[in-house]
Amino acid sequence: MSIRERLSGNEAAATAMKQINPDVVAAFPITPSTEIPQYFSTFVANGVVDTEFVAVESEHSAMSACIGAEAAGARAMTATSANGLSLMWEMIYIASSLRLPIVLSLVNRAVSGPLNIHCDHSDAMGVRDSGWIMLFSETNQEAYDNTLMAHRIAEHKDVMLPLMICQDGFITSHAIENIELVEDDKVKEFVGEYKPEHYLLNKNEPIAVGPLDLQAYLFEHKAQQAEAMKNAKQVILDVSKDFEKMTGRKYGLFEEYKLDDCEVAIVCMNSTAGTTKFVVDNLRNQGIKAGLLKVRVFRPFPAEEIAKALSHVKAVAILDKADSLNAAGGALFEDTVSAMYVNNVHVPAINYIYGIGGRDTKADDIESVYKDLLEITQTGNIENPYRYLGLRKEEN
């Protein structure tokens, strides 16, 4: 029997970390993820976990300490947001290229400037090409579940890549909601022990970690990283299947909500997907065939699968909670339309940049997107595929 609880998203992430009981947690506080290491350090102080908690002096050091710990053969975790992730940036690439399956809880927040502490996805989008697996979470429940699955995915011998679990800052991180927790012993059994194949503290196999790697082999090593990222797709599906056996909660690469018979679809990630479900239900009651594709696995990007899932729709809007400032469109939009193009799927597609710096996204906003899509299905006209949702109108 699962445990009925009510927790904030940060409490949910910290609870998962407590149940995982990693060898090392190294973290530096930053809003809105601060509570995660704060709660976790309480667990350490109270002796509920055996973890070595390293209160580092910066996020760069937090990631460095996790890298050191994982290279030594330990299981390491951390949490951060926005500029904290920016400060880790150099080490983010080191972690993935050294194939160290570190798990990071990323509570999404706008990267400054100007200074803003609220939710958008600009932090996550800044590291989308860094070789980390990236899972997005609509709710506190999904943030918790994704964390429980994280080590099984990251540490799989065909993967060996670091993984970050994203959730929306404040919107889910600071909202108390219902959640079903898994019992401690079941989590322990599910996550299992970390038995690295190669590690620095193995006296029987002396190895070097992170030596110079020039023209002769770096390319091959990068190709191996890319291969591992491709492998991750199947591993994520396999681990999710095991998770479903334990909890009854089903996870795929993405969630299809009333998508199979829909005419107009929205693609988005994290908490906005929940608001979109609310709108889809309302529109369905009015006879409008609206649907949603919620991306859970953003890296690896399930290009073929997404293209296939969208192939029957008449028009699709892709919502990005971060602007790429490239005069062309957001990252999720570009990945989605290129996935459709190479898979020979030709659906009219538009992009909305929304929710920047914590701008609230209302049900009315989402409804207006579906209305725009319906218009496109009738007129076939897309004048400007790169749009804003919820931007203030110019005042006279």
């Binding site: 609220h118 919107i171 108390i176 909601e177 219902n178 929940g274 609310f278 996204t361 049900a363």
Partner: protein
């Protein structure tokens, strides 16, 4: 779906409106409901206007936006009435609960023609009588439970006794005062 109740709290930083919204979420959770309790974070400082929200339903809640058309509004500090549009979007089938001793005429003048039910409570008096200090959030919590009928008085008192025991584990002397504040508030909230 249809039994979704949405509540918006208006208070000032330091008065415990956020805590009250979380306590209400807790209490409703304990009666078996699906709940959301979340503050709208802004520049956090003592005395600044703050907003917090609750959604309560028998069914899972997926929407994750702020609340624009609440069923109920709770005003923890009546000095906000002239500066914040507290009845914005408030359903006329719902109600507003205000911590105030001001006259009905004054309230009508600042509520911008709101035609729904208006309830008042003197949370300062209750808090000072029960606790000897001014913590308006406990009486306001009881007042909104009474007005909205989210749960019975007994269920609230039972549940809060438990949660105060945990919340005030290190200062048990304030538990009785908080319970008294709840009881008084349940009796004293009145419709004008």
């Amino acid at each position: 779906m249809n039994d979704l109740i949405e509540i918006r709290w208006h208070g000032r930083g330091g008065q415990g409106a956020k805590t009250a919204s979380l306590l209400l979420a807790d209490a409703a959770f304990n009666t078996g409901k699906y709940i959301q309790g979340f503050p709208e974070y802004g520049p956090e400082r003592m005395g600044a206007p703050i907003t917090a929200y609750n959604r309560i339903s028998s069914n899972p809640i997926t929407i994750h936006s702020n609340i624009y058309e609440p069923d109920y509004v709770v005003v923890v500090d009546d000095t906000l009435l002239e500066t914040v549009d507290v009845t914005s979007g408030l359903k006329e089938s719902g109600a507003i609960v205000i911590n105030t001793t001001k006259s009905a005429d004054y309230l009508k003048s600042v509520l911008k023609g709101y035609n729904g039910a208006v309830y008042t409570i003197d949370a300062r008096h209750i808090s000072e009588e029960a606790l000897g200090r001014y913590f308006p959030n406990t009486p306001m919590l009881a007042a909104i439970v009474k007005v909205s009928g989210i749960m019975t008085d007994e269920a609230l008192l039972e549940d809060m006794k438990d949660s105060f025991k945990h919340k005030f584990a290190k200062k048990p002397e304030v538990i009785d005062g908080n319970m008294k504040a709840l009881e008084l508030a349940l009796k004293e909230v009145k419709k004008i």
